[in-house]
Symmetry: C2
Subunit: 212 residues, 2 copies
Amino acid sequence: MRVGELSKRSGVPVATIKYYLREGLLPAGVLTSPNQAHYDDEHLRRLRLVRALVDVGGLSIASVRDVLVAVDTRDDSLHNKLGTVQEAITQPGSAELDPLAVKDVQEFFARQGATDCVDVTESHVTHMLATALSAARSVGHDDFRNLLDPYLEGLKIIARADLEYITRHGSPDDIIEGMVVGTLIGDAVLKAVRRLAHGQVSREVFGQRPPD
Amino acid sequence: MRVGELSKRSGVPVATIKYYLREGLLPAGVLTSPNQAHYDDEHLRRLRLVRALVDVGGLSIASVRDVLVAVDTRDDSLHNKLGTVQEAITQPGSAELDPLAVKDVQEFFARQGATDCVDVTESHVTHMLATALSAARSVGHDDFRNLLDPYLEGLKIIARADLEYITRHGSPDDIIEGMVVGTLIGDAVLKAVRRLAHGQVSREVFGQRPPD
């Protein structure tokens, strides 16, 4: 397809596609004449992935380039590639950490056998969790750590649905694009559905009681 | 206790306590002399709730006042009070909604029998969900709606743990304070633990496969 068709099918303006081409985020098309290049479905998939990283993930062009290098590394499992992308789309946060919250996270990870992301200085995910538990401790909710295990139990059900969702299509670019969208837009969906779940469970627990 | 002790036990500065007293967010203490008032555990609980609404929930003083009126309404169930507070701490969002996403949400709520929060113009929670599904649709993920049911299934496990957590203490103020902190800080904890769950499930699904 020509660049106009690529733009139409991806929803990305031609000027943006040309910018991505110049920045090396999209491989050049096959020249069919000095002024005309031909693009295929691989370009379309890559373009969708780049758009998800930029528009949904908010990544800089340089970060997108790093992610694409990881995605294109041949000798690596899809699991590792997904892990790399997940770290890239997770904001590290800059709040000060409560050492007790860090300890809570380390104990939780040790319990769960998640030995590859224990260090808060190395893993954005770990840092994000320690930041949230620090905030809870700062308002006197030291016991929040007790929620981590049931949270993980519920979230594994959700993660299985997510993985099923993103593997509908076979290509690695599509799977990774699905993970970016699923993780980031999924966070917002999850927040809203969580409030609905609270309402349903609160009705079960408090709905029949006389007013306090 | 005197105001100094109330400040120490709540972690809220004396000047802030005096400001809350002037704004009517905290009932006046019992005067023991012309310049000295006595506060009790009710004041401490109310102060913790106000702080959670202001510091964690980011509510304005006027919104806090509205929430406290709802909390103090005698003839209402705790379930309804929690619903009122949940709406108050949920940002409505201003993005344009995709009518198809609104329809997805309405069908989901109808399936789940959640008839009390179907209208996007009336419920912040509904609006939040429609906003997130609109964002998914805008990047070609119309099928995201299929994740709503498994999300709710996982989130009910989480909501039960949350409700158990916030009902450890008996007083309504403590329960509502726990819900504010649990909902808002819980969102951040959930985001982080979700990434861990993704990692664990991805390892199960992709970890053993040869690289693509």
